[in-house]
């Protein structure tokens, strides 16, 4: 098991290396003059040249890349040409917010999607199944940013139940702690009020993010449950008198979940990259908003680094999923 994990981690390194190369090339080969943009509309040629020199952007591409790479190894993600802040510092600020949002969305999607998919399969070709089918296609078709706006309109503006955006009221200090997740940190400190506040801010963006993965998990779970219910061992279980409830909730469930796990892993990466829109709508201070601002400003270091970090998290998530797969499916474990 440990060897399996170690080997997977070793295989990740070339992927991450390739990622930096691609992002670097894309950002540098494409037209656009980030230095001039950063220097401002009134900057003179010499000011622009000075800025380029300061950030090493006058060097050949491979030298710039080498500098970036050697920095990376030491945990230095470069410096934003726009804000002149180290990217690593920014990431440390924004990443927990994004992760909290993604985990919350994924939690909702799994907790609702798995049972709903199971039920859809059990009531296959009857009205709950048809309903869940229509709703899930609708959920996948719903633009997240539009859904976000609708949620804001209903629950924040008209009903005024929940805050419009942001992560915590500006006038209060957010919960501090090791995880950087406000909800978890508040819980760890038994700060109930802080926890409720954090949840209220988290609710709408998390719902907006969760709908599409929820629908996909539901459909995946439905399909794999139906497949499992056709397996011989289900016939045997039925033939030997086990109750339908036990067959579905014990024997079918575990087998069906293992194939849904892969989807959940893929969605983790998708969600990480997809927070951009929801973070924009809800002013959620995460890496998506950060990357958007950097992209608009053609501020290059943050974009490469965000892509790298998300890529790394995505790959890590897939390793975790593989390990979980082994836990649920004992046959894989011993191979």
């Amino acid at each position: 098991m440990l060897r399996f994990i170690l080997r997977r981690i070793l295989l990740v390194l070339p992927v991450l290396f390739g990622l930096t190369v691609i992002m670097f090339v894309i950002a540098r080969v494409l037209p656009g003059d980030p230095v001039a943009l950063a220097a401002g509309p009134n900057a003179t040629q010499s000011e622009i040249a000075a800025l380029a020199q300061e950030f090493g952007l006058d060097q050949p591409l491979w030298v710039q890349y080498w500098t970036y790479l050697t920095g990376l190894v030491q945990g230095d993600f470069g410096t934003s040409i726009f804000t002149r802040r180290p990217v690593a510092q920014d990431l440390a600020t924004y990443l927990p917010a994004t992760l909290e949002l993604v985990f919350a969305a994924l939690f909702l999607a799994i907790v609702i999607g798995i049972p709903a998919g199971l039920m859809a399969a059990v009531w296959r070709n009857r009205w709950p199944d048809y309903l869940s089918n229509i709703l899930s296609v609708a959920a996948i078709s719903m633009p997240r940013f539009f859904l976000g706006l609708l949620l804001q309109l209903c629950f924040a503006m008209w009903l005024m139940w929940l805050p419009l955006g942001g992560r915590f009221p500006i006038i209060f200090d957010p919960p501090q702690g090791v995880t950087g997740f406000y909800t978890i940190d508040a819980l760890l400190q038994a700060d109930w009020e802080g926890f409720v506040t954090a949840c209220r801010y988290l609710a709408l963006p998390a719902i907006a993010m969760s709908l599409s993965p929820l629908a996909t998990i539901l459909r995946m779970m439905r399909a794999s449950t139906i497949e499992v219910m056709h397996q011989d061992y289900v016939t045997t279980a039925r033939a030997l008198g086990l109750s339908p409830r036990m067959i579905v909730f014990k024997y079918v469930l575990r087998n069906a979940i293992s194939s849904s796990l892969t989807v959940i892993g893929l969605y983790f990466g998708w969600l990480l990259g997809g927070t951009v829109l929801v973070e924009t709508v809800f002013d959620w201070p995460g890496v998506g908003l950060y990357a958007t601002q950097a992209i608009v400003a053609q501020d290059f270091m943050p974009v490469v680094s965000v892509a790298l970090v998300i890529g790394a998290l995505f790959v890590t998530a897939n390793i975790v999923i593989d390990v979980l797969y082994g836990v649920i499916n004992p046959k894989v474990r011993y191979q």
Binding site: V15, G18, L19, I22, M23, I26, A27, L30, P31, G32, N133, I134, V137, A138, I140, S141, M142, P143, F145, F146, L149, L150, Q152, L153, M157, W158, A223, I226, E227, G269, L272, G273, G274, V276, L277, T280, V281, A291, T292, I295, V296, Q298, V303, V306, A307, I310, G311, F314, V315
Partner: protein, 295 residues
């Protein structure tokens, strides 16, 4: 003898087609989807012409009637410039749909080329191309598209290039898998045995047989391509006003909520319904064309 085999082959094909149609009609949702897509395509072709206020589509403003609530004259209300929202939504259809089509098409062409090369040649070509595709898949596609679009500058074509760049690896993987499988089929071995050139084997024998899964993926992707186009518009990278585009309309309207909600809700609904239609249709097509996925 030849005649007879041809007749049976044709009737077998007709039989398969009638079965496929039967299955398609069996699922009411895909018929609904097809109808919705037909509407969307209708507005793609005629939306600009049928718009009740063509002058607003062209960029004209009517400040006297700013933020009029939905009424008979303006079923979707008017926006901050007094423009008729219905006209803008109708005129925005071709931009989104054409962009969606273009993205899927370019992505498919790139993906099929890469996937076919990799799957057909195997060996190191396969390794290199597939490692590269996998790498591209780990980059968050929206961020990649945004970065490329921002660097290329605003514009319809630039936006399509940007999104398609993030789009092809999925097709490459799909096509490679299918080609690998088809390569092992008996009819391919037979074609090789009678001395067909590799190019002929690839184009005449393999590619035609992997069309269905590609079409299924294309139809399922159409909706997502439209969403991505709108997302770029919403972020403010992509097509610029005054060209009406759903995502851009929504992003401007955002500032005028909740009082003038109609400026946001109607473009958003149009987007949702178009994508919904394509997704329902794609689901139906998958059930018909890709029997392996059916249950």
């Amino acid at each position: 003898m030849t005649d007879a085999t041809q007749v049976t082959r044709r009737s077998a094909r007709a039989e398969a087609l009638s079965r496929a149609l039967y299955r398609f009609r069996q699922s009411r949702l895909s018929v609904v989807g097809a109808t919705m897509v037909a509407f969307v395509l209708f507005f793609t072709l005629f939306g600009g012409i049928l718009a009740p206020y063509p002058e607003h589509v062209a960029g004209g403003v009517d400040t006297a009637h700013r933020f009029a609530a939905p009424s008979l004259a303006h079923p979707f209300g008017t926006n901050e410039l007094g423009q008729d929202v219905l006209s803008l939504v109708m005129a925005g259809t071709p931009v989104s749909v054409a962009a969606g089509f273009a993205v899927v098409f370019v992505g498919t062409v790139l993906g099929v080329i890469v996937g076919a090369l990799a799957g057909f040649n195997g060996g190191w070509i396969d390794d290199v191309l597939m490692r590269f595709s996998d790498l591209m898949l780990t980059i968050p596609s929206l961020i990649l598209a945004m970065a490329v679009a921002a660097a290329l500058g605003p514009g319809f074509v630039n936006m399509i290039i940007a999104i398609a760049l993030a789009w092809w690896p999925g097709y490459a993987r799909l096509v490679r898998g299918e080609v690998l499988q088809a390569r092992e089929e008996v009819y391919v071995a037979a074609a090789r045995a009678i001395g067909a050139s590799p190019a002929r084997v690839l184009f005449r024998h393999i590619l035609p047989n992997i069309v269905s899964p590609v079409i299924v993926k294309m139809s399922l992707d159409m909706g997502f391509a439209i969403l991505t186009v709108a997302a770029l518009g919403f972020i403010g990278i992509g097509v610029r006003p005054p060209t009406p585009e759903w995502g851009t309309l929504l992003s401007i309207a955002r500032g005028y909520m909740p009082d003038f909600w109609w400026t946001a809700v109607f473009p958003g609904m149009a987007m949702f319904l178009a994508v919904f239609g394509f997704n329902l249709l794609g689901d139906g097509l998958r059930d018909v064309l890709d029997p392996r996925a059916r249950r």
